[in-house]
Amino acid sequence: MDAPLAMDVDVVAEHEALLQFLYLAPVGLVQADMRGNIAMINPISAQLLMPLAPGACLNNLFDALADVAPELRHVCALFTEPSGMICEGRQIFLRQDARVRLQRGTPNVLSISLVKLDEDRLMAVISDVTEQVRRERQLKHTDAWLSAILTNISDYAIVSLDRAGVVSEWNETIARVTQFGPEVVGQPYSVFFPDGATTHERQFDRLREAEDNGWNLEEGPRMCADGTQFWGSAMISPLPDKGMLLDDEPDTAYCMILRDISDHHAANEAARSAAFSDQLTGVSNRRAFFDAAELELERRRQSPRATSLVVFDVDHLTVINERFGNNAGDQVLRELAALLRTTFREVDVVARMGGKEFAVLLPSTDLAGAFAVAERVRALVAVQPAAQDGKLINYTVSAGVAEMDEQATDLTALMARAEQAMRGAKQDGRNQVAGWHGVAPATPLAH
């Protein structure tokens, strides 16, 4: 009887070693069904997921990630192959969200890969890639610089700017690329930008950044004299101090090289859009939002200006889903996203932040200005039902608006204010916009 007993002991020890191997694997592993219901989960998954939804029970993978990656459920539903890789190394951005408080020791970026094994089984690998993303971002900076120099370009214009960013000289290259004639001299360089693609403060930000870094590079829509647009890159470099100017010498402080990179842009747009857009609605995803917001707030620290945030939330989306089916809810989100894009300016950052929540960051805009646009969206939504399979779906949105001030100096605080205002709008009956106007002191001053 000794032999079987010895074998049992071996099997038990082996089982225990395997168990410990899974406990200690330094990467999150989850097995779930296609609806996200978790069958098996290892400790690193709990370490990474629990802070996202404290008090949750980790019964469902999509629920656990709903606040930070609302699109995952949709991405899996869209995957119709019998098996295969659904997504690989998809990045989920967590930082500076009002709901996921930034805590010491909490990662900023998670990566998730999803593999469909069969109709009933999904495997997920989750890991903390915060450091990796930080390194990638530094590399990207260098890449942008190189690509600006090396890309095949259709043409370029050399524009001289004075200290205030006003065009100080005209030459043939300006006419070739933008069709502007000599009358462009004396106009601010925003003349090459379509309406809403820049702000007065943003124009100065770029000059200052060129001063600080030796150059500033930006891609975006540009405008010709006849109003047509092209996709361009603009590189601004400060010129060396020329000392005393001669009377007839124009006061040129910067050189701006304007290039038409439309072809290059079209080729890169698909890849860019996959990484920075929300799959369902096409607006920015959380990653793009946080990137853009961080940059804008850094500029605001350098040179203070008004900055506002609007948070939109679809009213009663669950009821819409129940009555018309989940596709109807998706259609509502798509139509709302399209409306946000056309109503807000190019310079505003429109992003999907959660299942039914959108955020818009408005540079150089105060509370009243942001409120007015939010109200315009609310009113439009109320009279424009979404259309799905010939059916019209009436819906409404609630919005909260907040502006940065001395008390709210980071994105987390601004988000918290806008969300608080939005909850107020919900409580007051929905289909309305509420501004954050501060809270009265809890205790009256002592006499």
Binding site: L24, I41, N42
Partner: protein
Amino acid sequence: MTAPALSFDMPDLGPQLAALSDAELDMLDFGVIGFDGDTVVCRYNKIESTDAGLSPQRVLGQPLFTNVAPCMNNFMVATRFEDAMEHGALLDATIDYVLTLRMRPIKVALRLIAVPDAAVRYVLVRRQK
């Protein structure tokens, strides 16, 4: 030997656990993990060993948050112990959590106990009904 009359949520549990022998810890109806100032596990009772499927010799002598319970290595658990130690403050808090015992998500209550100057700190585990 009779089972010690200690319950998961009674007050001032830290010093009382310290007074129990290993055999007495094994008779408690909740999980006990004790670890020292360097987070090395020095106490591990029977119910915890059974639920996790790991025998004590695989766990004792190992750093808790990296080699035994990496699921607790975040601001909800590990950071609270670090903060309490840094400030020499008393930590006695109970939180809802999910452990991945044998790779299944199990809802538990965790009680985190660190008494200033005590040699052993504790994570207590009670399964939620």
